[in-house]
């Protein structure tokens, strides 16, 4: 019963994983030709200005996404969890729906929305706050543009997780805290936060992992490139360019390993932190 899955898993996950190890130590020219170079790829990476720029862009984008998107998602979830709000299902559906669009297609939308002169964003901001219609989102302000586009796409997705987590909050505890005179902010930190912490930790981790692998949004919005001065170059985009445009699959694998080690490290830390907090409680 396990066999069909195991066979495909071995061929298309374990074998590539082993080969990723071998490739990372080679210099390749397309899928056929390679020579062993030991750890040279990793040494080159540490001094590769484009890779360091890609890391910087990706980390800044991730921080921006996590610190803007998740509080907004939690705030919306708290609002939509209140029984005195009307049409909650509709609000939830509308805010969640961009998650169904998919990065390749939302990139197309935002490529046009963020155009100078003709894009929705500049037309709207021009009418509302008098922003210059030639504001160059895709030429100069690429990171904010990426953060805005993914804010639209993923806030509702995270909100759904928070809404599910809020069902774990005990109403009797909330009521007791209210009777004891705790205001909304104290109730949030002392009753709601502890109850949603396990899911919140998971959402933060998921969102960091997703953000660190950003690729389609900048790649399509910036017409298959890192944009002017590579302001929109991300780690996975650099991996893609190295492996599939320059044909150096070895270097691409080395980038993959750096990314994997960081992400797995974060997952382990998160597990430890949430495990400890459970043990303490």
């Amino acid at each position: 019963m396990l066999a069909p899955w195991l066979l495909l898993f071995a061929v298309f996950t374990m074998w590539p994983l082993a080969m990723a190890g071998k490739l990372a130590g080679s210099q390749t020219f397309g899928p056929g030709a390679s020579t062993g170079v030991g750890f040279a790829n990793f040494r080159d990476l540490a001094e590769d200005p484009l890779f360091l720029l890609a890391c910087k862009n990706t980390v800044l984008y991730t921080l921006g996404s996590v610190f803007i998107q998740l509080p907004l998602a939690l705030g919306l979830a708290l609002l939509l969890n209140r029984p005195d709000i009307r049409a909650r299902a509709w609000f939830r559906l509308i805010i969640f729906s961009p998650a169904l669009v998919g990065a390749a297609f939302s990139s197309m939308m935002f490529a046009v929305i963020l155009e100078k002169r003709t894009g929705l964003m500049n037309l709207l901001l021009n009418r509302l706050v008098g922003l210059d219609v030639n504001f160059p989102w895709l030429e100069r302000h690429i990171l904010p543009a990426l953060i805005i586009a993914s804010l639209w796409q993923w806030t509702g997705f995270n909100m759904v997780y928070f809404l599910a987590a809020l069902q774990n909050v005990r109403q009797d505890l909330l009521e007791a805290a209210r009777l004891d005179g705790a205001g909304p902010i104290r109730r949030f930190w002392l009753v709601i936060m502890p109850a949603i912490r396990p899911v919140a930790g998971f959402v933060v981790l998921l969102s960091i992992i997703g953000s660190m692998q950003l690729f389609e949004l900048p790649y399509i919005m910036l017409s298959s490139s890192g944009g002017p001065e590579n302001r929109g170059l991300t780690i996975v985009m650099y991996l893609f360019q190295m492996g599939f445009e320059s044909g150096n699959l070895g270097y691409a694998s080395a980038i993959g390993w750096v990314l994997a080690v960081v992400l797995i490290g974060l997952a382990v830390v998160q597990r430890k932190v949430s495990g400890d907090s459970e043990a303490g409680a």
């Binding site: 899955w5 005195d84 805010i95 969640f96 297609f105 197309m108 980038i255 797995i264």
Partner: protein
């Protein structure tokens, strides 16, 4: 201000915030639809619809289908639709079948190497996809699967995450006594899975199928790496390429995007209950 009025004000305020947020989230969709019917000159001239003397002050006669005409005549959008439908359905069905079988086996059957296989699954869940991109490409090259749909479907048919989800679901919703009873009645192991376990796993089957379908439908990097002939490209690649070739054709680009997004949007709105419960089950149970 007494307590009732202050409660009323805060309720109004909360609804106001939500309405503004809902409009902000809907605007890009409205823009997408409107732009796909507009001429280039009108795209920059009005926020949504061009103003004129028609009904509601909108110049309806300035909207047209040119973007759609160009899309269907000049781009491989039809073959893209067919390719995406084929890839997404075949992958969704096979990944769900294989993952549910494997997850059930890990949760309920005793065999040698079970704990090793379980650890393998748990470890594989956290491998980030981009790491396997370059080596996966080399392996598909060696197996002669590049530029074929097999090269996309086979790797996606064995997801570790799916096995993880079905293992959790089987542990919590398939009782051992039911399996024992079926065995005593002389039922074969595979028939037990099909007739006893699978019906109990139905909610997860629906949710996982939908999630996989959506993931394949919107996957861009996979087909970009594996496929080479333009005739085989799925929607994500076809539509993204419009941006290169038809850089200034806003209506055509937005028509292509709308045609790609609409089918899944409709599908998921119809099945949203199942989808959302499946989405969160990993977090709540995990």
């Amino acid at each position: 201000m007494n307590q009732r009025t202050s409660q009323l004000v805060s309720r109004l305020l909360m609804h106001g915030i939500l309405i503004v947020m809902a409009i902000a989230f809907l605007l890009p969709f409205a823009w997408l639809v409107a732009t796909s019917f507009k001429t280039n000159e009108d795209v920059g001239g009005s926020v949504l619809l061009p103003m004129g003397d028609g009904l509601f002050g909108v110049a309806w006669d300035r909207l047209n289908l040119d973007g759609y005409r160009k899309l269907f005549n000049e781009s491989p959008i039809v073959s893209g639709l067919l390719a995406s439908t084929f890839l997404a359905s075949v992958t969704a069905v096979s990944a769900t079948l294989l993952s549910s079988m494997a997850g059930y086996a890990l949760a309920k059957l005793n065999f040698k190497g079970r704990s090793l296989a379980t650890n393998l699954v748990l470890g594989a869940v956290i491998i980030p996809g981009p790491l396997l991109l370059a080596p996966g490409f080399v392996i598909l090259h060696q197996m002669g699967l590049l530029d074929s749909y097999w090269g996309l479907v086979l790797p996606a048919a064995a997801p570790a995450f799916g096995v993880f989800l079905f293992r959790q679901a089987a542990m919590s919703s398939v009782p051992d006594t039911l399996i024992e009873a079926a065995r005593i009645d002389g039922c074969g192991e595979f028939r037990i899975f099909l007739t006893v376990a699978l019906p109990l796993l139905r909610p997860m089957v629906g949710a996982f199928m939908l999630i996989t379908f959506l993931g394949v439908w919107t996957n861009y990097i996979g087909p970009q790496v594996v496929l080479q002939s333009p005739g085989k490209f799925p929607l994500a690649v076809v539509v993204a390429q419009l941006r290169g070739t038809y850089y200034q054709e806003y209506a055509m680009m937005m028509a292509g995007t709308l045609v790609s997004v609409l089918p899944v949007l409709v599908l998921f709105l119809l099945l949203q209950r199942e989808f959302i419960s499946g989405l969160t089950s990993g977090a709540v149970k995990g």
